[in-house]
Amino acid sequence: MKKIQILGTGCPKCVALTANAEAAAKQVGVAYSIEKVTDVNEIVKAGVMLTPALSIDGKVVSMGKILSPDDIAKHLGS
């Protein structure tokens, strides 16, 4: 079970990243849960200043960009 978190205040970029993350998880075929973190304080606590950021199992893997589904799949696979 992979825990995917999207950190961002909710602008269109975060929506795009969420969609890509879901596509990637389906592509890889792992069980996953997806959560959006929109509270600024939580985002900063996770060590993120550039949104949208992607975190997998509590580890931030990218900040400030919209990763493609293929890139996210690589992170999910490892």
């Binding site: 509270d39 600024v40 900063v44 550039l50």
Partner: protein, 439 residues
């Protein structure tokens, strides 16, 4: 669920509007016409030369400038001069999307350079992005564009320093959970190349957007002549402002003249503006040369992936901003036609201290979607708002709104939030007032 609820509310809203709008009422049908006029004015005059190039620049900033490099200067170790300097101007490159400002602000405050630079960044960040500045200059006049840019930067530093001073005792050691400022990716180009690339893009915008310094003499079919500046041009009418009083029209009167009634339209540019007028006539050649330079650099210095990333970013902005801007223009045109001119004049006309204060408070509380503050002000200025209060609203507007105040409160606590809001309102009022007295 929340999203579906939003859609439902919007549908009900549109339905109620369509059901109840008194379309045969003359004022309402006039307002609808006015809304379309304003939309056409934007489409014809502000879109191709200003919004489109600005969007490519914003996309380029998102794709090619390393935000990590900038943020490093706002980390805990940065010295104060550096931190204030970077915080107050970095909005131009960091905050192309206003929703990304708040996490950066919280980060700078919590684990980075501290209260002062964080406040400075929060204040200037959303106001000085490339698109906002160019569109302000283009639509509202270069005096307001330039004052908005420099006013925001200077006020940012002042407000930051004051915040730090007021809360100097409370500036205890903040939590130690030090954020590793993200490692900047290795540079693919020299700084000079990046600078040249952005300068060339901005030059395209400056030239394509060069405004005519002209005054126009209009002779109507009935033989009357008047000296005017053209405010708005659509397919069928000119809206003009009278520059010299004629007959019963006093200076400053605004009037719609159908194009069919105009016999001669003559350019009477005052002396001294020849050079500017010359650039205006040849602006497409200059812009073309700069554009060729941009294209050459794009294909010489960037690889295919980067070009794709640039286009993706630009498209993201376009999707986000174009509906807001054009929707905003339309709604503003409609609403402005229904607002009585005297009411605007009474509240924010002239340049009294109270007019500036009202503009400041409205700006601080109201939420302006990205760039819509510009058409709104455009309409308000047409209804008689003073230029001083207009600048005040531009200075207080983007940094604050009720929703953003709520987020700032969750980061800062009420004391600092109240102080920050108070400072923004007071300082914006004073600067707008001074500007209004000056112009």
């Amino acid at each position: 669920m929340k999203r579906e609820l939003g859609i439902a509310t919007a549908l009900v809203g549109v339905f109620l509007f369509a059901y109840f709008v008194p379309i045969s009422d003359e004022r309402v049908s006039n307002a609808l016409l006015e809304a379309f006029r304003m939309l056409q004015w934007y489409a014809r005059n502000h879109t191709l030369a200003c919004v489109v190039p600005a969007m490519f620049i914003a996309g380029g900033i998102g794709a090619f400038l390393s935000k990590e490099t900038v943020l490093r200067h706002l980390g805990a170790q940065a010295n104060r001069f550096e931190a204030y300097g970077v915080a107050s101007v970095s909005g131009t490159v960091l905050a192309v999307c206003s929703c990304s400002v708040l996490p950066m602000f919280a980060g700078i405050y919590r684990v980075g350079a501290g209260l002062g630079p964080a406040s400075a960044f929060l204040y200037s960040g959303p106001a000085i992005n490339v698109m906002a500045i160019f569109l302000t200059g283009r639509v509202l006049g270069y005096d307001l564009g330039a004052s908005r840019f420099f006013g925001s930067i200077v006020l940012a530093v002042i407000i930051g320093l004051m915040m730090e001073f007021f809360f100097r005792r409370e500036e205890r050691r903040r939590n130690e959970s030090f954020i590793d400022m993200p490692e900047p990716p290795p540079a693919k180009r020299s700084l000079l190349q990046t600078v040249l690339f952005f300068l060339a893009m901005i030059a395209v915008l400056v030239f394509s957007d060069w405004s005519s310094p002209s005054q126009t003499m209009i002779e109507r079919t009935d033989g009357s002549r008047m000296k005017v500046s053209v405010l708005l041009e659509t397919t069928s009418i000119y809206r003009v402002q009278v520059v010299e009083a004629v007959g019963n029209l006093s200076k400053g009167t605004k009037q719609d003249i159908p194009k069919s009634e105009i016999r001669v339209k003559e350019d009477t540019t005052p002396a001294g503006y020849e050079r500017s007028a010359w650039i205006y006539r040849n602006r497409w050649y200059f812009a073309g040369v700069c554009l060729a330079a941009v294209l050459a650099m794009t294909f010489g210095w960037f690889d295919g992936g980067e070009r794709l990333e640039w286009m993706n970013q630009t498209w993201t902005f376009a999707k986000q901003i174009v509906p807001l801007l054009f929707g905003g223009v339309f709604v503003t045109g409609f609403v402005a036609a229904l607002i009585p001119e005297e009411a605007v004049g009474r509240l924010v006309g002239g340049n009294s201290l109270s007019a500036n204060l009202v503009a400041s408070v409205i700006g601080a509380l109201w939420y302006f979607a990205t760039l819509t503050e510009i058409p709104i002000l455009d309409s308000l200025l047409g209804l008689g708002m003073g230029r001083g209060p207009a600048l005040t609203l531009l200075l207080a507007g983007p940094a604050l709104s009720l929703p953003s105040i709520a987020v700032i409160y969750s980061v800062f606590g009420w004391k600092k939030t109240a102080t920050f809001v108070g400072l923004v309102i007071v300082m914006s009022t004073l600067v707008g007032w001074a500007f209004g007295a000056f112009v």
